[in-house]
Amino acid sequence: MARKVTTGRKIGTTIFAWFVGLVIFFPILWTFLTSFKTELQAISIPPVFVGFDWTLENYRTIQTQSNYFHFMANSIYLSLGSTALGLIFAIPAAWAMAFSPTRRTKDVLLWMLSTKMLPAVGVLIPIYLLFVRFGLLDSRLGLIVVLFLINLPILVWMLYTYFKEIPGEILEAARMDGASLSKEITQVLAPMAVPGIASTVLLNVILSWNEAFWTLNLTTSNAAPLTAFIASFSSPQGNFYAKLSAASMLAIAPILIVGWFSQKQLVRGLTFGAVK
């Protein structure tokens, strides 16, 4: 028997959903507001909410102090580069695991994921030495490879779960019709898996965009992305919250906008395969 949904219940759920949404969104809203305050207003107690003199001073200071667009360009290069490289490896790997699994496929998948369990700092010195040896320090190429490698397990896992949802018989039929392996993947599998691939790409771009250990440790200036840009505005002696907030807003703005426009894809992709 289906439960009757009363209007009161609907209102209750709506209010609750809005409340949860606001709680989650509040830090970003607060950062946004703080970025328009002076350093003195940013730290005043009781905090001022909207009744202050909005100023663009912080954004101006940031722009004179460092070149935002240089950092942003690097972030774009790194996140798109590592994602593209990741797809080249992850799609065939996930295809093989989903459609011609062996006895050890599950173990391989788990082993891949286990590489994510090692704390990054544990391999900092070896990786750094490799980078010194190959002259990759502060280069975009080196970072793209590192970001690609650390995100590869997630890419393979996500694609694997999406591909599992596609009936193997369709691929079989394509093969019967004489499709080659490459045609089977590009013309039959890929179009059906587009939502899955799209959300994988989006998630990977966000993960690479936010990655703040390797990007800080392996770059100095040429290849430094927005994470380094934010980190440069924290000060051990002196007030910095307003400037830091402005820097954070600038750093998350591009990804926020992309996320906003593609949230439907993202949600669909993430829940795809979860419910049958």
Binding site: T64, I125, F131, D138, T220, S221, S232, G238
Partner: protein, 440 residues
């Protein structure tokens, strides 16, 4: 034929271009985001105008990230930085490791004898300077003149902790949101331990005795930490165990603190109307003294943000040229002409404090100089290490932070002072034994 002429021409052009490019040296400077460093960054074009063959590339990072980044780079010989800002804690250790290049080419006009002796000695090893001081600090008591007047108190030039305790009680007005005393509580070797190490010395106790035995259970540490916890519990702001320098700077700037003992550089922030609500109500006195034979007249803190060249840099000559410029008398004049005397980086040169224009513009000048001159970080008969509020040995960072966590626990009331000190003693003894300082 024509083709080969063209090729030759292009090759020649290319050769010229490469020579021109290689003639210009690019220096990469790693620094923290402190206002004096940002000012230096802003004035770099002046340097590049004087030295067209050198280009300066700034990398600003958060303090802990910078330390980790620079240490990794030096240890692996990465050569990513040509100059970096480090403090008085790192210089003796890194110089001993051979990680820094000695600064022996700062030029004839540098006037090394003008550097304040305590600072120069803090940055030298075996008589060689390994880092040039950019700005330096000691410890001061900052207090609110208006609140003291209201409470009928007069701050002595050299207060004692007994007086501070009395004043803290009288000035506290929790209903009005005014706390008598604000001190660091955030755990960390450079946060609460900088203050507590200084306070313990005011009660005659060091981190280690002559045999490197930790001293946390000594009378001095007990007195210092008990008083600290007592004062902060009764008259301090709520949640003090998470307050570091910046948090206290905010509280004081908002007029919430009656007194604050901290780095002397705080003085320039709280007197700046852009950053403080009480710019003209702040008075300065010496750091308090706990016992009569208080070492260093209470000034048990010395720190200098300094510029050094890592051994892995391949551009040491150009780097020395820059360091010489950034820490020279001319640089001080340049800052003064562009931003006013009050914004000149303090604490490094004696001549600055003889300049009446500076002493007039900076009301804290005398107090700062006095504090720095009376802080002596050299090892003594009962103190085998270099440093006052820290001990310049590699083990101190980890050990100091672990002990700092015990102190924060005592401050927040989750453990007793005795228990925290006992635990600290155990942690420190274990680390020092492991480090080979204590022989079994």
């Amino acid at each position: 034929m024509r083709f080969s002429v063209l090729t030759a021409g292009a090759a020649a052009l290319l050769a010229v271009a490469t020579t021109a490019a290689s003639a210009q040296t690019t220096l990469t400077i790693g620094t923290v985001n402190n206002s004096d460093m940002i000012r230096m960054q802003g004035l770099t074009p002046e340097f590049e105008k004087q030295h067209p063959d050198i280009k300066v590339n700034w990398v600003t990072l958060e303090e802990n990230i910078l330390r980790q980044r620079v240490t990794t780079d030096i240890a692996t010989g990465g050569g990513q930085f040509d100059i970096m800002t480090i403090g008085t804690y790192e210089v003796p250790i890194w110089a001993k490791q051979g990680w820094l290049k000695p600064l022996d080419g700062l030029g004839d006009n540098y006037d090394m004898d003008d550097l304040i002796p305590a600072i120069r000695s803090a940055l030298s090893s075996d008589g060689k300077l390994y880092a040039a001081p950019f700005y330096a600090e000691s410890v001061l008591t900052l207090y609110r003149k208006d609140l003291f007047e209201k409470a009928g108190l007069t701050m002595p030039d050299k207060p004692t902790w007994d007086f501070i305790a009395e004043a803290a009680e009288k000035v506290t007005d929790k209903d009005a949101g005014v706390y008598g005393i604000c001190l660091r509580g955030k755990p960390g070797w450079g946060e609460n331990m900088a203050f507590l190490g200084n306070m313990a010395r005011e009660f005659g106790a060091n981190y280690f005795d002559a045999d490197w035995k930790p001293q946390f259970e000594s009378e001095g540490w007990k007195k210092a930490v008990s008083l600290y916890v007592d004062l902060m519990t009764k008259y301090g702001p709520p949640g003090a165990a998470s307050n570091g320098f910046n948090e206290n700077l905010q509280l004081f700037g908002q007029g919430k603190c009656g007194m604050w003992m901290d780095a002397s550089v705080a003085a320039s922030f709280v007197t700046d109307p852009k950053q403080s609500q009480v710019p003209d109500k702040v008075g300065f006195a010496a750091a308090p003294c706990g016992t009569e034979n208080c070492p260093n007249d209470g000034f048990n803190w010395l720190w200098a943000w300094s510029l050094a060249i890592p051994d892995s840099s391949k551009k040491a000559d150009a780097a020395q040229t820059f360091i010489s410029w950034a820490t020279s008398k001319e640089y001080l004049d340049l800052v003064a002409s562009k931003e006013g005397w009050a914004n000149v980086p303090p604490g490094t040169r004696t001549s600055l404090y003889k300049n009446s224009k500076y002493t007039e513009a900076a009301p804290f000048a005398d107090a700062t100089l006095n504090a720095i001159q009376h802080a002596n970080p050299e090892p003594t008969a009962d103190k085998p290490y270099y440093g006052l509020q820290f001990a310049a040995i590699p083990e101190f960072q980890g050990l100091g932070t672990a002990v700092g966590q015990q102190m924060a626990a005592a401050l927040s009331g989750s453990t007793s002072v005795d228990q925290a000190l006992k635990q600290s003693q155990a942690i420190a003894t274990r680390e020092m034994t492991r480090g080979g300082y204590i022989k079994n």
